[in-house]
Symmetry: C2
Subunit: 77 residues, 2 copies
């Protein structure tokens, strides 16, 4: 099982990406964790370390993919 982390901040762009995109991932290959960085500010540094610059972003096995643009990470600190 591969690990994927979806970082978001509850913004409209984030919600759309989650609903249309994250649910499209193959559930037999990927375990997806969702992290709301507005509520879990202690995980912003973890997202930054993975290369996340903005939300929504999906980190698949350590590689960050920015999906559209909701908010810069700096707004969530």
């Amino acid at each position: 099982m591969n690990k994927a982390i979806f970082y978001h901040a509850g913004c409209p762009v984030c919600v759309e990406a989650e609903q249309r995109f994250v649910t499209a991932l193959n559930p037999s290959n990927y375990q997806v964790e969702e992290v709301h960085l507005g509520n879990e500010k202690n995980r912003v540094s973890e997202a930054e370390a993975a290369g996340v610059k903005s939300v929504p972003a999906l980190v698949i096995e350590g590689t960050p993919f920015h999906i559209n643009f909701g908010a810069p990470l700096s707004d969530l600190k």
Copy 2:
């Protein structure tokens, strides 16, 4: 079966998105078509009409998702 179209231009960012991202989609729910806009310039207008601004991008049931940033669509005309 839902339809997803992955627009790309063969750039390194596109290839990474394809390998790590498109293959992660649930094959029992999504039929993914890949379109190389550098080779199929006649489909640039179709991508534009779907709201694609840059590649790589994945259009899921008509909604565009830009994944990271490889090249603007205007470079492919």
